[in-house]
Symmetry: C2
Subunit: 363 residues, 2 copies
DNA sequence: ATTCGATGTGTTATCGCTAACACAGGATAA
DNA sequence: TTATCCTGTGTTAGCGATAACACATCGAAT
């Protein structure tokens, strides 16, 4: 009696153990063929008689077989998977980019795995490594440049990994490069404000020091210069991104606080250009809180033209970048590189931005 | 001469070919040991003399070796990777969830791969398959329930894949389940409006028909009922999500259009509850456009309490859900399941929401 | 009748890595 | 002294799949 109980326990324990997945050979055994035939059915290549195919399909159903992508990838030396590294998935820009990449990829039979770096160098490296380790067929990198990440990226590219860069300040003979024309976008946003008669224009979203590698900021400076307006360092504000590992991305909060700093300046700006729309929205909030009118007292321009811009009060003037197009092109460049299966000449594409004028600059 | 040229071409072509990655054996050969020793160095297990370890590390550097995760995973029967499936990465909720999951995972040495379904059944299934094929150690599913996806999910769980569900209306003995208390959240949001004296309250973000499986909507109805207020179907509006494959997620646009429909109703609502903040923001936009005051003419409550809510005009009353906590718990449950390596009793956790009252309901 | 290509299936040999075991030499304990 | 453990390293055997090749069979073309 005791032993019976004990047996029952053992038995139940056994049933509880993690089921071993059936393999292609198990399926083959059930169907009464070899694993090679099953493989042919699964991959729809080679000759298989209709009769056999059905037997195999039934065996697959019966055993609820799932193929093992690791083994498959190991043997085939490809995984039909590409990786996408984003800095911050909360950004509609990133979401739109991912969507475009995914559409192209899944159209061509590739899976897409997304990794997020949260704009830190450590995670940037980790994401590159994770994807490379898993032998993805190629990687689209849409994070910002940082030293550790750039080193890792260099190694990967040199080792033959197909890579396409989106808006990252990193260049290599063997990696394609896609970006919006952030410089011109920044220039035009600023020129727009100048054309409206503004002479003291602030920039929100970077420190003057670390802004040197921010194209939007460069465009802002260039526009001032071209119009013979003085560049004033005190009009440039935002969290400094000196440390590579700081999550230096811009948020409403950042814009809000930066704007507050600008508002108390003597002879303060009459207009501001924010590095992106969330920052701009935060700034708008600070301006309203101070009891000032937009655009009468202070005009404001954002960047990215996120869907929300038309719902803010007033609607936000913003620079629209062709996000979807960037994702598409990046994916196309990458797939071309993957499918060529040998080094190709580098492709580069810079896409125009478009200023969308709304109520935050023109009443 | 001709043949020389030809040779040169061949040679250059050869150099152009995709470099073959060095394997563990190549490293072993350079270091003058066997691959097993290299493996021990790489994995920091087993005994290796300090001297040998250094030789191996040098050989790794020299050959710029990268380990092959496919082979490793195949042999070890685990990949130290978990998958996360999101419906829509543009949502701050999803971003926050992903961040929390990632923090827990990377703390325990797991990589995180994210897949996005765009709220379609097809992509839901595709994401599940892709992750399963790649033999991730477990999957966190944060997409909405749909027939095809549920079927796939069932198969996966039954085959022993560790799964944790976040906010998905799908239950299984072998899968952990985490959710915010959307029902009570919806109830309290509505009760809040009722307490303020509103008697005609609209719901934005679903059709009355398809709302039956939306907890927030159920909470809304329950609050009406409890207070003996009539439920009026004409006050419920939003895109219908009859088709599983329709990208039925809510956006500013959806909220904007839904609100417009509510505004023209005879004896229209004096308050609305929106299924999420973006929808609410769109609704706010429509209300303002109609020249009405918030909250005097129409009060509005959102859900999720995204960072933006404090920057809208007026700031948005919203139901905050503990997003970060959900992600953490989901990851912890999943890792526990993975590391137990055998079926465990199901864990379930429902987290309280909190109503944050702001200017969109109380002046 | 013979050759040939198309069709259908099986055999073999890896892909790159590591678990499990084997084994030798030296230190330690009995 | 002998048994025993700890170190350090090598050998073997797959993990689950498929590329490459081999080998039948059959009908059509020569």
């Amino acid at each position: 009696m005791l032993s019976l109980t004990h047996d029952a326990v053992i038995h139940s324990k056994k049933n509880l153990e993690k089921k071993k997945q059936p393999t292609i050979s198990d399926v083959a055994a059930i169907a009464g063929v070899t694993s090679m035939t099953v493989s042919r059915v699964l991959n729809r290549n080679g000759y298989v008689s209709e009769e056999t195919r059905e037997k195999v399909l039934r065996a697959i159903q019966e055993s609820s077989y799932r193929r093992n992508g690791l083994a498959r990838g190991l043997k085939r030396q490809r995984t039909d998977t590409i990786g996408l590294i984003l800095g911050d998935i909360a950004n509609p820009y990133a979401a739109e980019l991912a969507r475009a990449v995914r559409d192209v990829c899944s159209g061509k039979g590739y899976n897409l795995f997304i990794c997020v770096s949260e704009h830190t160098a450590r995670e940037d490296v980790a994401a590159l490594s994770a994807l490379a380790d898993h032998c993805v067929d190629g990687i689209i990198v849409a994070t910002r440049s940082n030293r550790a990440g750039d080193e890792q990226l260099l190694k990967l590219i040199e080792s033959g990994m197909p890579v396409a860069l989106v808006g990252r300040d990193f260049h290599h003979e063997q990696a394609d490069w896609i970006s919006a024309d952030n410089f011109t976008g920044g220039f035009e946003a600023t020129q727009h404000l100048i054309d409206l008669g503004h002479e003291r224009i602030g920039f929100i979203g970077t420190s003057a020091a670390s802004g040197s590698n921010l194209k939007r900021f460069q465009g802002y400076k260039a526009a001032l210069e071209k119009n013979n307006l003085p560049f004033e360092e005190r009009f440039v504000t935002g969290r400094a991104v000196a440390d590579d590992d700081a999550p230096g991305y811009s948020t409403e909060r950042l814009g809000y606080e930066a704007m507050k700093r600008l508002l108390v300046l003597p002879n303060r700006p009459t207009a501001v250009f924010a590095r992106n729309d969330f920052t701009a929205i935060g700034a708008v909030s600070a301006i309203k809180e101070a009891g000032l009118q937009i655009p009468q007292d202070i005009a404001i321009v954002g960047f990215d033209d996120i869907p929300l811009t038309i719902h803010t009060a007033p609607p936000l003037t913003s620079v629209r970048q062709p996000t979807r197009r960037q994702g598409q092109i990046a994916a196309e460049f990458l797939l071309r590189r993957i499918e060529a299966n040998e080094p190709l000449e580098r492709k580069e594409r810079v896409l125009e931005c478009e200023l969308i004028v709304r109520g935050s600059t023109v009443a």
